[in-house]
C-alpha cells in the first residue's frame, strides 16, 4: 500500500529538529498517558523537567545528581556513537560496563588494606582494559569469522551478569560482610575511592571525564581525519577500501573506543556512587546509552545534552513517582517514547511516503 522513497535532499534543519520534536511529542503523548493514569499531566511534566532544576526543595541536590546520573550515559554513548557512525553495532555496552567495574574493583581490592596513591589511577586503567577486552571478543569474531557483532556483544551482557553474580558471591565477597553477597565498599577504602571532587555535591571524577570526553570526541570526529574515515566506512565500505583504509582496523577501533569508555564508566560508578560490586550493580546504563547516542544525533555535543535530558527524566521521574503516585512503568514508557518518536521522525525526514495502487 505504502512505499518509502528516499528523499534526495535531506533537510539538515529538520534533522536537527528531530530530538526537540521527539521531546515535545513525548511530553504531549506522555501527558495524555498520565492523564489516563489519574495524574495531573501538567504537574507530572513539570515535576519531571522543571522541579529537579528549579524547585527550591530539590534543585540543590538534584542538579549535581543529574550530572552524576548522566555521566555514565554520556561516556558510554560517546563510545557507541563512533561505532554506530561506522555501522559497527555494539549493543553490549552493558556487559563492557560490568566488566570494567569487575576488573577495576578486583584490582583495587586485591591490595586492600594497603594505601597508595598509585592504586586509584591504576584501577581506572585496569577498568578501562576490562571493558576493552570484553569488546574485543565481538570485534575479533566479526573480523575473523564475520560473526554478527550485534548478537555476540548482546549475548556477552548475560555472560557478564553471571560473572558479576560470581564475583559478588565468590571471589570479591566481603569477608566482613556477615555472609551477605557483595564486595567491600570501595568508598571506605581511601586509595580506591572515587570520592567527590566538589564537596557536598557528589560530583566525582567520572563526571569531569564525561565532559572532557565530549570535547575529545568532538575533535576526533570533526577535526581529525579519523572521523572522516569512520563516516566513510559507515556510508560506503567499498569506498573506504578504495581510499586505502583497512575496514577491519576501523572495526577494531570502534569497538576499542566503545568498550574502553563503557569500562571507564563502570569503574567510575563502582568506585563512586555505587561503592561496591554487587549482583544488582548494573542498572541498564549500557542500553539506555543507545537511546542517548541516537537522541544526540551521534554528535558529541548532542550526546551531552541527550544524556542530561535522559538523566533528568530519571531524577524527575522518581520525584513524580513518590510525589504524585505515578507508577514506575509509566516513566519507562515515557523514556521509551523518546526514542520511538525520534526514530519515526527520522524516517519521515529521510523518506517520502507514496501511496501505491493495488496492482
Amino acid at each position: 500500500m505504502f512505499k518509502l522513497i528516499p528523499r534526495e535532499n535531506v533537510s539538515p534543519v529538520l534533522s536537527l529538529l528531530g530530538p526537540l520534536f521527539s521531546v515535545g511529542l513525548t511530553m504531549i503523548v506522555g501527558g495524555i498517558l498520565f492523564y489516563f493514569l489519574g495524574v495531573d499531566p501538567f504537574a507530572a511534566i513539570k515535576m519531571i523537567f522543571w522541579d529537579p532544576l528549579m524547585s527550591e526543595t530539590f534543585s540543590t541536590y538534584s542538579i549535581p545528581q543529574i550530572f552524576i546520573k548522566g555521566a555514565p550515559l554520556i561516556l558510554i554513548a560517546l563510545g557507541l556513537s563512533v561505532g554506530f557512525k561506522a555501522n559497527v553495532w555494539n549493543i553490549g555496552a552493558e556487559g563492557q560496563y560490568i566488566m570494567g567495574a569487575i576488573f577495576g574493583a578486583s584490582f583495587a581490592l586485591s591490595f586492600y588494606p594497603l594505601e597508595s596513591i598509585v592504586i586509584f589511577p591504576a584501577m581506572i586503567l585496569i577498568g578501562v582494559i576490562g571493558g576493552f577486552l570484553w569488546s574485543m571478543i565481538p570485534a575479533f569474531l566479526k573480523v575473523k569469522f564475520q560473526v554478527n557483532e550485534i548478537l555476540v556483544s548482546l549475548m556477552l551482557v548475560y555472560v557478564a551478569e553471571q560473572i558479576l553474580a560470581l564475583a559478588s558471591l565468590g571471589f570479591l565477597r566481603n569477608p566482613d560482610g556477615a555472609g551477605f553477597p557483595g564486595s567491600r565498599n570501595l568508598n571506605q577504602y581511601t586509595s580506591a575511592s572515587n570520592a567527590e571532587i566538589i564537596a557536598g555535591t557528589g560530583i566525582h571524577l567520572g563526571v569531569l571525564l564525561s565532559l572532557l570526553m565530549v570535547i575529545f570526541f568532538y575533535v576526533l570526529l570533526f577535526r581529525h581525519s579519523l572521523g572522516f574515515k569512520i563516516k566513510l566506512l559507515g556510508n560506503s565500505p567499498k569506498a573506504s577500501g578504495f581510499s586505502g583504509d583497512n575496514p577491519n582496523k576501523l572495526i577494531f577501533l570502534c569497538l576499542t573506543l566503545s568498550g574502553s569508555l563503557a569500562g571507564l564508566a563502570g569503574i567510575m560508578e563502582v568506585a563512586g556512587p555505587a561503592g561496591q560490586i554487587n549482583i544488582d550493580f548494573n542498572v541498564g546504563y549500557g542500553f539506555t546509552a543507545i537511546i542517548v547516542a541516537f537522541l544526540g544525533r551521534l554528535n558529541p555535543i548532542g550526546i551531552f545534552f541527550a544524556g542530561i535530558v535522559m538523566a533528568l527524566t530519571y531524577v524527575g521521574g522518581e520525584l513524580t513517582q513518590f510525589m504524585l503516585n505515578l507508577p514506575a512503568a509509566a516513566i519507562q514508557v515515557f523514556q521509551g517514547m523518546l526514542l520511538f518518536f525520534l526514530l519515526s521522525f527520522d524516517l519521515f525526514v529521510h523518506y517520502k511516503i507514496k501511496l501505491k495502487g493495488n496492482k
Binding site: 501538567f42 530519571y314 513518590f322 514506575a328
Partner: protein
C-alpha cells in the same frame, strides 16, 4: 520573536506557580516507603504496601504516606531516599536488604529523619532494622510438605544465597525430614527476587525432576500458577496466593508488617522512636502469619501443623533444636540445644542431609 519568548516564559512561570501552589501538602507527618519491585507482585512488596495502607488507615489525615516502586539496590536508592527526605519525609521504610549502605549514607545526611531498614544488620542513631523470623513459618510449611509429598521429592526455588534464604531452606528441610524421613530436597537458585519467567522455569525444572511439592523464597505468584497447571502442591510466599492455584495452594507464609509499621509510625509521631534497635519477630508477635490451610491437607496433618505453629508462637518449640549436624557432618547443635541469634543471622551452611552447595 524576542517579544514572543518573553510572553512565553512569563506564562510558563505563571503556570508553574499555579501548579506548585495547588499541590501543597497538609499532613503533619510524612512517611516514605521504597520497594524493590512493584507492589502488584502479590508477594514481598505487596505485603509491605499492605503495611503502608494500614498506616494510612490508622492515622488518617495526620499521616501522609508516599512510596516508590522498582528502586534498584544501587546508587539510585540513595538518590530516591534523599529526594524523599528533601520532600519532607519524617520516616523512611527501606524494605529490602540491598538498601543497607544507601540507608546509612542518607541517614548520615539527614539526622532528623528516622530510617527503618528491613532485613539488614547495620544500624545508626537514626537507623533501626527489622526482620521477621520467616523460618518459623517454614517449619510449619516444611512439615506439611513432608506429609503431602508422594514422590518424597520437595523442590525449593531460592533467590539469593543470603543467610535469610539459607535459614529458610534449613528450617523447612528439618521439619520435612522429621515428618517424613525419606524426603529429599532439590534447590534451584535463580539470583533474583522477582522474575516471574525465571521463577516459572525453575518450578518446571523441579517438577520434571520429580518434585510434587514446591516451596519458594521468591516474590511472584508464577510458581503457584505452574504448580496448578502441573497438578503439584505449592506454598504462597509473603501473601496468600490461593487465587493463583486453588488446588495447588496448601497454605501461605504471610508477612505481617502492618502492626510493626503502625507501631513505629506512632512512636515516630510521639517522640518515643529509638534508633539502633534491631527487631526480629516471628509468629508470636504476628509478623509471620500462617495462612488458611487447604482442604487438600488431611485433618491429622492440619492439627499437627497448628500444634507446631502454636508451639513456636508460645516459645515451647524452636525451629532449630538439636541434635543438628552441619552438611559436612560436623556437629552444630547438641541434643536439646537451640540455635543462637548470631548463627541464625549469619547462617551460610546447609544442615546435614541437604544435597548440593550454597553458591559461593
Amino acid at each position: 520573536m524576542r517579544q514572543f519568548l518573553k510572553y512565553f516564559s512569563a506564562s510558563c512561570l505563571f503556570i508553574s506557580m499555579v501548579i506548585t501552589s495547588s499541590i501543597a501538602i497538609a499532613a503533619d507527618y510524612k512517611v516514605g516507603f521504597i520497594y524493590i519491585g512493584p507492589p502488584g507482585d502479590h508477594g514481598w512488596n505487596y505485603q509491605h504496601d499492605v503495611g503502608r495502607k494500614a498506616v494510612d488507615e490508622a492515622f488518617g489525615d495526620k499521616v501522609e504516606t508516599v512510596f516508590q516502586e522498582n528502586v534498584p539496590e544501587s546508587a539510585d536508592a540513595e538518590r530516591v531516599m534523599t529526594q524523599m527526605a528533601l520532600s519532607g519525609a519524617d520516616m523512611i521504610f527501606a524494605t529490602s536488604f540491598g538498601y543497607m549502605e544507601p540507608v546509612l549514607n542518607v541517614a548520615k545526611k539527614f539526622p532528623n529523619v528516622k530510617f527503618e531498614h528491613a532485613t539488614g544488620y547495620m544500624t545508626a542513631d537514626n537507623v533501626s532494622t527489622y526482620s521477621a523470623r520467616f523460618y518459623e513459618g517454614r517449619t510449619v510449611a516444611g512439615h506439611i510438605a513432608g506429609k503431602m509429598t508422594k514422590s518424597n521429592t520437595i523442590g525449593y526455588v531460592a533467590s539469593y544465597p543470603i543467610p535469610e534464604v539459607v535459614r529458610g531452606i534449613n528450617s523447612a528441610y528439618l521439619a520435612a525430614k522429621k515428618a517424613n524421613p525419606n524426603v529429599e530436597f532439590k534447590v534451584i537458585w535463580i539470583f533474583t527476587w522477582y522474575d516471574p519467567a525465571k521463577e516459572a522455569d525453575a518450578a518446571k525444572t523441579l517438577i520434571s525432576q520429580g518434585a510434587d511439592v514446591i516451596l519458594q523464597h521468591v516474590d511472584s505468584s508464577a510458581i503457584m500458577t505452574v504448580a496448578e497447571e502441573a497438578g503439584v502442591y505449592a506454598f504462597g510466599q509473603a501473601s496468600d496466593m490461593s487465587a493463583f492455584g486453588p488446588n495447588a495452594h496448601l497454605t501461605a507464609i504471610i508477612n505481617g508488617w502492618a502492626p510493626y509499621y503502625v507501631k513505629k509510625v506512632k512512636q515516630g509521631m510521639d517522640g518515643t522512636w529509638k534508633g539502633a534497635e534491631q527487631t526480629f519477630d516471628g509468629i508470636g508477635a504476628g509478623m509471620v502469619i500462617i495462612g488458611p490451610l487447604s482442604d487438600k491437607i488431611p485433618d491429622s496433618v492440619k492439627k499437627e501443623a497448628m500444634e507446631i505453629r502454636d508451639g513456636i508462637a508460645s516459645g515451647t518449640l524452636h525451629s532449630f533444636t538439636g541434635p543438628i549436624n552441619k552438611q559436612d557432618g560436623s556437629p552444630w547443635l547438641k541434643a536439646g540445644e537451640t540455635a543462637d541469634m548470631g548463627t541464625l543471622l549469619g547462617m551460610n551452611f546447609y544442615v546435614e542431609g541437604i544435597e548440593g552447595d550454597i553458591p559461593q
